[in-house]
Amino acid sequence: MVKYTYKKIDRITFSLLSPKMIKKMAAAKVVTPELYDREGYPVDGGLMDIRLGVIDPGLRCKTCSGKLKECLGHFGYIEFARPVVHIHYVKTIMTFLQSTCNDCGRLMISAEDVLKYKSKMDKALERNDTTTFRRISKLVRLSSRNIKKCPHCKTKQFTVKLEKPTTFMEDNKRLNPIEVRARLDKVPDDDVYLLGLKAEHARPEWSILTVLPIPPVTMRPSITLESGERAEDDLTHKLGDIVRINQRLFENINAGAPEIIVEDLWDLLQYHVTTYFDNSVPQIPPARHRSGQPLRTLSERIKSKEGRFRHNLAGKRVNFAARTVISPDPQIGLNEVGVPKQIVMELTLPEFVTEWNIEWLKTFIKNGPKIYPGANYVIMIDGKKKKISAETQELLITELSPGQIVERHIVNGDIALFNRQPSLHRMSIMCHKMRVLPGKSFRLNPAVCNPYNADFDGDEMNLHVPQTQEAIAEAEILMEVQTQVMSPKNGLNVIGTIEDAVTGNYLLTKDLTMSKEEAVQLLLSIGVTDTERLKKFKANVNGKEIFSAVLPKDFNFIGLCKSCKKHKVCQGKKCETDSFVHIKDGQMLSGIIDTNTIGEGNGTLLRDIHRIYDEITTVDIFGKIFRLGIAFLAKRGFTVKTADADMPEDVQNKVKVILDLALADVDKFIAEFHAGKLKPFPTKSLEDSLELMILQRLNEARNEMGTLIGKTSRPGNSTLVMSQCGAKGNLLNLAQTAALVGQQALRGKRIDRGYKERTLSLFKHNDLSPEARGFIRHSYKKGLNPIEFFFHAMTGRDSLMDTALRTPKSGYLYRRLANAMQDLKIEYDFTVRDANQSIIQFSYGDDCLDVSKSDGGTIDVKKIVSEVAGKND
């Protein structure tokens, strides 16, 4: 058994290792770059010395006599022939060199100032106010640099410059690390303190290395390749370089080699040590493998996305997870997810054996791991895990007893967390009930695509199965789809009906009747079971009655359609466009259902249902409305066809007239411009005004055509129907397909680039006419001419590039924002506070409203009063 030691961490101190400390904690001194001898046994005094820990099975550590995995490894050290600078402390060294005297080593501020600053910093530390401490320290630093004469010993001072990355220059002479170290050595402890360090933990001269700790072999294990060859870790390679050069430096110094050779070797040692700590320092070529790929040394192990923090500590891999392509299935519930059988047989759920479920669990074991509702493992009472197989099956069934745990396959109704990256808000991970389905993709209801921002063009999603009762309960209560209907962003519903479901409900509730048989058939097919209600249908049933059948019997609602003309006084039931949606006691009296009532984000009817009834009822009704729309549309038939964009001859003529008028106007503007008669807009230049006027006029013409087409289209035009009820598309899309595509714009202007003073070489210079500046007079249906096609491709490419460039940028922006605000929390007194309870906002959003419990960010008191008082007419 593992023995645990419980200790409470009181404080953490970050400090520099002193040379003394490095030697003290070392188990071995490394003196040779060789790793193994001829037998393949680690060399004594080499980098793989077995006093530094073991990575080979069978060997024992010489220091602690522990075997592989028992011994955590021990540090070693090497002694440098000449000191070198630690690349990450160059800045610190610079401040010390600049702020202290080159002779006496004291801080170059007056004695009074020293006392003044010291007492201030002491006080700050007492209060644990590190910000102030640092601020004063910075003040000291700034006021003590660039001083010509030391105030203490009156020695003349020179400015010290840093020649990146590791060379210090004073008065155009190079200061070598020995000289630098000697200077730092002279700085008194009190002055060190004023510059922000505590001498007991970090003397400045320790930032110049005279000895280097060698990390234990356990943190740089070598890998044995298939060929039997050994591949050493990057760190070992780098340390090998360091040791080799260090040895050469020693030999050269002892042999009395000329100073130039020694200095060259010294610089080389400096390079190796620098790249050992950080292999991505600017100005320094990164050390590379023989293959040319850069080495991953200490800093790279820790830093950035692939580093220890973000990769291994903040992000972890988990078991009981699955990932596959998603596809839609409107027939399953909103809170369900269809899971392939293959996945369901791999992911398991641990089920405690009790007296009451023992027989049920035996059926799972009987099926074993290969037949579907089976089980993979049994965990015995002593914690041993036994695999279920043909041989063990019999025994496990007879021995099964309460207290054991069976890891059974997932069955319908088990819950899972379903997730799609990027997980930008809390609705990106929701809890679904699993449903085993044939096929190999996850199935989800299209209504929940919006919160996940998913589509089915190849998206993949992840599924996690909670393993403990606590996790399951927590997921069910906090994360089920029905609890996430309202967005905490704006108080609107993120889940709603989309596309065909909207069209279906729209057509159903808009002047339609069908026979009783048809209606009952339709409602039963979508899961309406209230037969009492169906029995009351008359021989001919109104579409509104059919829709009413999915609503609760006591539901009251008043809302407006998309087509509402916004009369000053609402016409109510007499509305000529039937835009007044009125539901009383579960019966729809007037109005048409469209996106305004059941859509995503603005489904007022859905929100009312969600507010009044419990969550289970809500998703149930949502699902029924969705299926009703789809089932009805499938029954009725609905096709988008090219004929939707056909225009009768008179309309075609009208379109031509509108276009000709607009073009004539534009010609007039251009003529006026050339004649100098054009009146510019205030604050705009003449050219800009012309551009603006042309753009305005052409857009006006296109909008005019849009409304014209909207008005004159054959009733029942599918494309038009979709745009009217808000299912998909808008009038502009139709106008572009039927009448004309219109002006192409780049950065808010007409296209004006390409060649010198013209867009294409076939135009005259400075041609301002619409066709030379990206105006497309044909419709998509008629087809564009080559010039128009080119302009269209220009804007197309522009918007493509724009999205491709914007996505990563905004993603990073969001990441920073989310990280900055992740600890903010609304406390019980409605204040927004951060992790150390500091107040960020005194009352959340000023109004202390829980947005997800509001209606679009507000609370409609009138509505609540009328609901409570029961007045609804």
């Binding site: 106010d129 309870q837 000023d846």
Partner: protein, 81 residues
């Protein structure tokens, strides 16, 4: 500059007032908080130039709020930014 501009008169600058010691204690009590946990304002902030504040004073700021009309915010005066 011939004419001194008083920015506190500008419509975009919300009303800043200094709280008395009693009021200050009351606020600290109400939010169960110490001065260092409150939002800060520099003693050199132009908006409180005329209030004659010292470090540790509590400033009450009344802002226009799109949600409730007027919102109240507090800041502690600190040394430098």
């Amino acid at each position: 500059m011939s004419e001194e501009i008083n920015i506190t008169k500008h419509i975009f600058v919300p009303k800043h007032t200094k709280l008395t010691e009693e009021e200050k204690e009351k606020i600290l009590e109400e939010y169960n908080i110490s001065l260092s946990q409150l939002p800060k304002i520099s003693k050199n902030d132009p908006a409180i130039k005329e209030l004659e504040v010292k470090k540790g004073d509590l400033i009450k700021i009344e802002r226009k709020s799109p949600t409730i009309g007027k919102s109240i915010f507090y800041r502690v005066v600190v040394g430098n930014a």
